[in-house]
C-alpha cells in the first residue's frame, strides 16, 4: 500500500535496510564491477578490439586513395568490380557507396592489414559474414583498424545500416587465400 502512500516513517532514510537487500546489492555490485573490468581487460589481453584511429576525410579525398590502390594492385574483376591484392602488411582501402562495397579485396591468411573504411554518401554498415564482424561506416570519417584474417575462404560484406531503397543490393567481397 505504501508504494503509493507517503512512507510510513517521516525519516525513512534512517530506517535500516534488510539483510537480504544488502546481500543482493553487494552481489550485484561485484558483478557490475567484474563486467566493467572485463572491457579494459580485453583491451590488454583480448584479440578483438577496435583501434581508436580515425580521420576526418572527404569523399573525394578518400576515393582518390582507393583508386590509387586499385590501380596499383588490381589482379582481376568480378561482376565489374575490381579485385585487388595488396601486399601483406599494407594499407588496404574499402569504400561504401550506394549500393556497393568497392573494391573486392584478396588477402592472405594470418597476415595483418591496415584496413581503411569510409562512406561516400550516407551511413553504411560493414557486416562481414559469416565471421560476423560489424562496423558503422560514417561519411566524412575514415576508420582504420588492423585486421588479421585467421580463416580462409570467401567472405561477404553485407550492408547492415539502412541506406535507401537499394540497401539489399549492397554486397562486397573479401577473399582470404592460404599462402
Amino acid at each position: 500500500m505504501s508504494t503509493f502512500l507517503p512512507p510510513s516513517e517521516r525519516n525513512w532514510w534512517s530506517t535500516p535496510v534488510g539483510r537480504q537487500e544488502v546481500v543482493w546489492i553487494g552481489i550485484a555490485l561485484v558483478w557490475c564491477l567484474i563486467m566493467f573490468v572485463m572491457m579494459p581487460y580485453w583491451h590488454i589481453y583480448g584479440k578483438q578490439n577496435l583501434s581508436n584511429e580515425a580521420y576526418q576525410t572527404t569523399p573525394a579525398h578518400y576515393q582518390a586513395k582507393v583508386d590509387q590502390m586499385v590501380a596499383k594492385y588490381k589482379i582481376g574483376e568480378e561482376s565489374g568490380v575490381p579485385i585487388v591484392k595488396p601486399p601483406a602488411g599494407s594499407d588496404v582501402y574499402m569504400l561504401g557507396r550506394l549500393w556497393q562495397w568497392y573494391p573486392i579485396l584478396e588477402l592472405e591468411k594470418n597476415q595483418s592489414y591496415r584496413l581503411h573504411l569510409s562512406s561516400m554518401d550516407w551511413n553504411h554498415g560493414f557486416s562481414l559474414q559469416p565471421v560476423n564482424i560489424n562496423l558503422q561506416i560514417v561519411p566524412g570519417y575514415e576508420m582504420v583498424l588492423t585486421v588479421t584474417p585467421d580463416t580462409s575462404g570467401e567472405f561477404t560484406v553485407v550492408c547492415n545500416e539502412f541506406c535507401g531503397i537499394g540497401h539489399h543490393l549492397m554486397l562486397g567481397k573479401i577473399y582470404v587465400k592460404e599462402n
Binding site: 500500500m1 505504501s2 508504494t3 503509493f4 502512500l5 507517503p6 512512507p7 510510513s8 516513517e9 517521516r10 525513512w12 532514510w13 535496510v17 534488510g18 539483510r19 537480504q20 537487500e21 546481500v23 543482493w24 550485484a28 564491477l33 563486467m35 566493467f36 572485463m38 572491457m39 580485453w42 583491451h43 583480448g46 584479440k47 578483438q48 578490439n49 577496435l50 581508436n52 580515425a54 576526418q56 561482376s79 565489374g80 568490380v81 573504411l117 554518401d121 550516407w122 557486416s127 562481414l128 565471421v131 560476423n132 564482424i133 560489424n134 562496423l135 558503422q136 560514417v138 576508420m143 588492423t146 585486421v147 585467421d150 561477404t156 547492415n160 531503397i165 540497401h167 539489399h168 554486397l171
Partner: protein, 577 residues
Amino acid sequence: MAQFRVCPDSGFFFDKSAESLMKANAVAGAVSLLIAGILALGVILTRWQEVHLLPADLFYQVLTAHGINALIFWIIFFEIAVLYFASSTLLRTRLAAPRWAWAGFALMIVGMVMNNIAVWQGNSSVMMTSYAPMQAAPHFYLGLILFAVGALIGCFVFLGTLVIARDDRTYEGSIPLVTFGALTACIIAIFTIASGAIILVPTFLWSIGYIGHIDAAMYRVIWWAMGHSSQQINVAAHVSIWYLIVGVLFNARPMSEKVSRSAFLLYILFLQLASAHHILVDPGISSEWKVFNTSYAMYLAVLASMIHGLTVPGSMEVAQRAKGYTKGMFEWLRKAPWGNPVFSGFFLSLIIFGFIGGITGVVMGTEQINIIIHNTIYVPAHFHATVAVGTTLTFMALTYLLIPVLFRRALFLPWMARWQPYVFSAGMTLMILFMLGAGTLGVSRRHWDMDFTGAMLSFEYPGTAYTMMAVAGIGGVLGVLGGAMYLIVTVGSLLFGKKLDESAGLFQGFGVPLAASSYNIIQPERLPMAPKLAVEEHGSAGFEAPGTFALAMALLLCFVVYYFINWDYLSSVWPLS
C-alpha cells in the same frame, strides 16, 4: 475551483481536469499503438522470408512508421497520462495549469499527425533514427519537434502539480514511491527532450536549407542522447507502475524506501550515458569514452535495475507471506492472481524484461562484444524485450486497472483480457528469442531481403537463419494478435463495457465533465502516511523474501553464463586491433 470525484472501488481521487487529460492521452496512445500494431504485421511478414509480403519501398516506409508510432507516440502519450496520475491522483491535488496541459496535448497530436503524414507521403522513409545525411521532408522533423514540445509541457505540468501538492500540504511526509519514480521519469524526459532539441532543430533547419551540413558522427552521438534516454524514461515509468501494481493488488509496501529511491536516483545520475551503446563500433570515438559511457560509469544504472528486480517482487512476496502464503519458496507466487491481467501482465513483463531484455542489453552494450552484434537483428530483438514487452505490457496491465478506476467501465470480454498478457508475451518471446538467434548468425536489421535478389554479387545466409526468421515471424504474428486483443478489450470496454457508478462515456471524457453529480468541490482529505508496521521477519535466516532471492540468483546465473558465452564467441572472430 477544482472539482474532485472519488473512485468508489479504489478510493483514488480524480481532479476533473486531470482525469480528462489522462483519458485523452491514454486514448491517443492506444490509437498510436493500433497504427504501430498494424504496421508491425507488415514488418514481420516481410522479414519472414517465405512470406516476404511488402515491396522494398513500402517495407521501409512501414518500418519507419512502425518504429515512430510504437516507440515514440504510443509510449509518450501513455507516459503523460501516467505523470498526471502519479501527481494529481496519487497526491490528491488539482492539476497545475490544465489549459497548458491541453495545449501540450494538442501540440503532441499535431506533431504526431504531421510526422505520420510525412512518412505516408513516401519521401521520409529514413527509419526512426533518421541518420543524417539521409534527409527526410522538413515536416518529418517538425512533427517530432512539436510532439516533443508538447511532451515537455506535460513534464512541467507534472512538476507544477508536485509543487501545488506540497504548498497545499495535501500529503504528510514525503511523496509516495510511485510518484518519486514518476519524478525520475520526468527528469530523464526533460534531459531527453533537451538533447532532442539540440539535434532535431538544426536537422530541421538543414532540411529546409538554412544549414548546409550536419556532421554524420555528431548526429549519431547527440541523436542517441535523446534516443536512448527516451528508453530510460520508459524504464523509470514502468518500474514505477510495477510498484503501483504490487501496492494496489497486494497491499505491498516497499521492502525499503531508501533502497528503492536510491535505485531511482542512480537512474537519474547514470542512465543518460547510454547514448554510447549505439556508437560502440563508430569511427572517431575513443575506447575510454566508450567504456565509461557504455557501462553507465561502472554499470551503476544496471545495478539500479537489479535492485528493482529484487525489491519489486520482493515487496509482493513479503505482502503475500504476511497473508499466510508461506509454504515453501514459491507459494506466494503460485497463489498469485494469475487470472487477473493486471497481475499477469505486470509479472510477465517483469520476468521478460529482466531475463531477456536486461541481459541482452548489457551483453550487447559491452564495448567489444558489440562488434558481433551491432546492427544485426539481435538489436531489435533486445529492444522488443525491453520496450514491447517490458514497457508496453506494463502499460497494458495498468490499462486493465484504469478502465474501471479512471473510465468507470467494466471490462469488455473479460475472458479475452485474461488471456491477453499470455498470448502477447508468448508471441513476443518467441519472436525475440529467434531474432536473437538469427542476429547471432549475422542477419541484419532494417533489411528488406535476406536473399539479396538482384545484387551483382551474391551471398546466402545459412538455412538455420531462414528457419529462425520464420519462427520469429510466427511469434510476431501471435504478438500482434495479443496486441489486437488488448485493443479489442480496451476500446470495447470504453464503448460497450457496463457503466459503473458515477460514470460517463468515453467521449465525454475529453474535457467535458462526467455526470455533474460525480464531482464536488470539497478538497479531498490529506493523504496520510502509510500505516506503520511492527518489524516482522518472514522466511528464513532473516531473508524476508527467499523466493524472490532465489529468482534473483537464477537471473544472475543466466546473466553470468550468457555474458561469458558471448565473450567466447567474440574470441573466435578475426583478430582486430
